[in-house]
Symmetry: C2
């Protein structure tokens, strides 16, 4: 079980967009080139982020994407769920109901014990992701990535921004 590649791309793109000055938009083409990922598949992820209200886009020559809210108001879970959906990683198909020994018409009083354990673990995963904001990632990167690379990257993106 693995997340789509677009989750990784979306996380990197949102981090990049968070570094933009207010009012600037980055085209999908530039985001794809910066990360060397296929533009068509990246665009789908950007559309999902847009539908989730994480990024906003404008069309046209100077168009592109920017964050729709401050980095501190976007969690990693927001981004992951925008791309992957909110469906639990465990789908209970109620196979306990297939037991040939159950009386006809027997009704369970609650969800299966096995499903509950699996859903709890899914919740622990989501809580971990909800506990990190995009601004936390940006802070870590500021401390870890050499200033020269950060400055050159910002300039590279601004040269292509609307």
């Amino acid at each position: 079980m693995q997340l789509k590649s677009q989750v990784e791309w979306a996380l990197h793109c949102c981090t990049v967009l968070g570094g933009l000055p207010a009012g600037r938009y980055i085209p999908a083409k530039a985001l794809a080139e910066f990360h060397n990922v296929p533009k068509e598949y990246l665009s789908k992820a950007l559309q999902s982020l847009s539908q989730a209200g994480i990024v906003e886009s404008i069309l046209g020559k100077a168009g592109g994407y920017r964050l729709a809210r401050p980095m501190a108001a976007i969690t990693i879970l927001d981004i992951v769920e925008a791309v992957e959906g909110r469906r639990s990683t465990f789908a209970c198909s109620e196979i306990r109901a297939n037991n040939p020994c159950r009386p006809t018409g027997h009704r369970d009083t609650g969800p299966c014990a096995i499903a509950r354990v699996m859903w709890n673990a899914d919740e622990a995963w989501r809580q971990s992701l909800a506990g990190v904001r995009l601004s936390d990632i940006a802070e870590t990167l500021s401390a870890e990535v050499p200033g020269e690379i950060l400055a050159r990257s910002t300039q590279w993106l601004l040269d292509r921004a609307g």
Copy 2:
């Protein structure tokens, strides 16, 4: 991102096998019939459980599967990883290295900040699963499933056991 159906089946099968008296084996056919799942796909999951040392099997007319260790010595994570593998749910493809502004030959000092956040969440999911033993599930089911269904199920399985 969702777990294979076989994870659900494996969890139910291990719970069922844990209710067997010592020395008895349940054929894959009976496990498939009890849960109404396709025997061929279930067999693959049972083979994975066998390779992971969670169940053991014997061949032949009275053959089948039983748990290889006590229920208290098997965690839900053991079963999930036997079927799904241990690979992290987040695969970092190092797209930061594609940044056109990085000097040639630049080497990062550690894993990407984004990957670390995603791996931590994966670990939180696994820890949650590792904190529940198969014996905990059996206890919950004993308390929740009507005694009559449990008794009839055990008899149904023993009638087909080696």
